[in-house]
């Protein structure tokens, strides 16, 4: 990992991050487009949830992680407090791994 590579990745990442705020005041966004941006953020977040819960690289993530996230998802839907949701998910996955489930 060269310093040039790190700087290139950092610069590109920062451009992604700063584009929205810099263009925000300049573009006249329609209500519909604003709404699509909000829904788009939700779409991306749920896609991140499912791909990182179910897959690793190009394959399956393994049952331990899937089971842990599933427990968390069910508890969150049932409006259990955030802390309990996250601890239960991590504990489920950790205990399954301890028991030898990949």
């Amino acid at each position: 990992m060269t310093i040039a590579a790190i700087l290139a990745l950092a610069a590109g990442t920062y451009l992604y991050r700063v584009a929205g705020p810099l263009l925000h005041g300049r573009l006249q966004l329609s209500d519909r487009f604003r709404r699509l941006l909000l829904i788009g953020a939700a779409v991306l977040l749920l896609a991140l949830v499912s791909t990182s819960a179910l897959t690793q690289g190009h394959g399956f993530a393994g049952w331990a992680r899937v089971a842990g996230v599933a427990v968390g998802v069910v508890l969150a839907i049932r409006r259990v407090p955030f802390l309990v949701v996250v601890v239960a998910a991590v504990a489920t996955t950790g205990l399954l791994r301890l028991a030898g489930v990949a």
Binding site: L9, Y14, V18, L45, L46, V49, G94
Partner: protein, 235 residues
């Protein structure tokens, strides 16, 4: 009344602290994995300060440690981070007000910051949530990576503790209110199915972007009024 307000204000702080704790352990492992793979100590530290995106940092280091060139590492990282571009538009509203504030605050845009911010129903609380979550994560992430480069071998593989279940669970819990109230549920589910179907065939990061195709299922006139009101999107 005052104690009610305090409860409302404290809940996100406690939740943010929990996410910082989980991400901190992941940061320690990033520092440890990088150094154990033979990279100089400054590499994970500078990467974390400047890039500040766990997925892309792990991805880029994995490419290099697997023998790929720096160009391949940069491309992999930029693809993984491309979702930050649409996220930056949702962060834009809280970053209004002064160029320094905008330029510094932009560096804090990351999945958790955006999710915590959007999960706030009261638009007035979004700004303070963004900065609280962003600064806390930035400080903890960089400290943790630094610790990991020195003492990381003591932590070992964090997946053994089940911490890989934390990030998807956190993001789900945070996005759930949006799915319930904004009409985002159908496009999000459709997008997720597209992303999962594409995962075996496309480089990491691309399937998540393809999920945006789910936006095609948003109705033409659906809930335009609501977007300006209860969702807190100011006109």
């Amino acid at each position: 009344m005052r104690s009610l307000w305090r409860t409302v204000a404290l809940a996100p702080v406690r939740d943010i602290a929990l996410v910082c704790l989980a991400d901190g352990v992941v940061g320690v492992s990033f520092g440890a994995i990088s150094v154990a793979g033979g990279l100089p100590i400054w590499v994970p530290i500078v990467m974390s300060l400047l890039i500040f995106a766990g997925g892309a940092q792990f991805g880029a280091v994995a490419v290099v440690l697997a023998g790929g060139g720096p160009v391949a590492a940069v491309v992999a990282g930029l693809v993984l981070n491309a979702r930050l571009l649409p996220f930056s538009f949702t962060a834009a509203e809280v970053l209004d007000g002064g160029w320094l504030r905008t330029l510094l605050g932009a560096q804090l845009t990351i999945d958790e910051t955006v999710a915590f911010t959007l999960a706030q129903r009261d638009p007035a609380r979004r700004g303070v949530t963004y900065w609280t979550c962003g600064i806390s994560l930035y400080v903890i992430w960089n400290l943790a990576v630094g610790v990991g480069t020195i003492a990381g071998h003591a932590v070992g593989n964090v997946d053994a503790y089940g911490l890989d279940a934390a990030s998807p669970t956190v993001l789900f819990a945070l996005v759930l209110p949006l799915l319930r109230t904004t009409g985002a549920a159908r496009p999000a589910v459709v997008g997720t199915l597209i992303a999962l179907a594409a995962t075996p065939f496309l480089p990491p990061g691309v399937p998540v972007l393809l999920a945006l195709l789910g936006l095609l299922t948003v109705g033409r006139n659906e809930g335009v009024d609501r977007s300006a009101g209860s969702n807190g999107v100011t006109a």
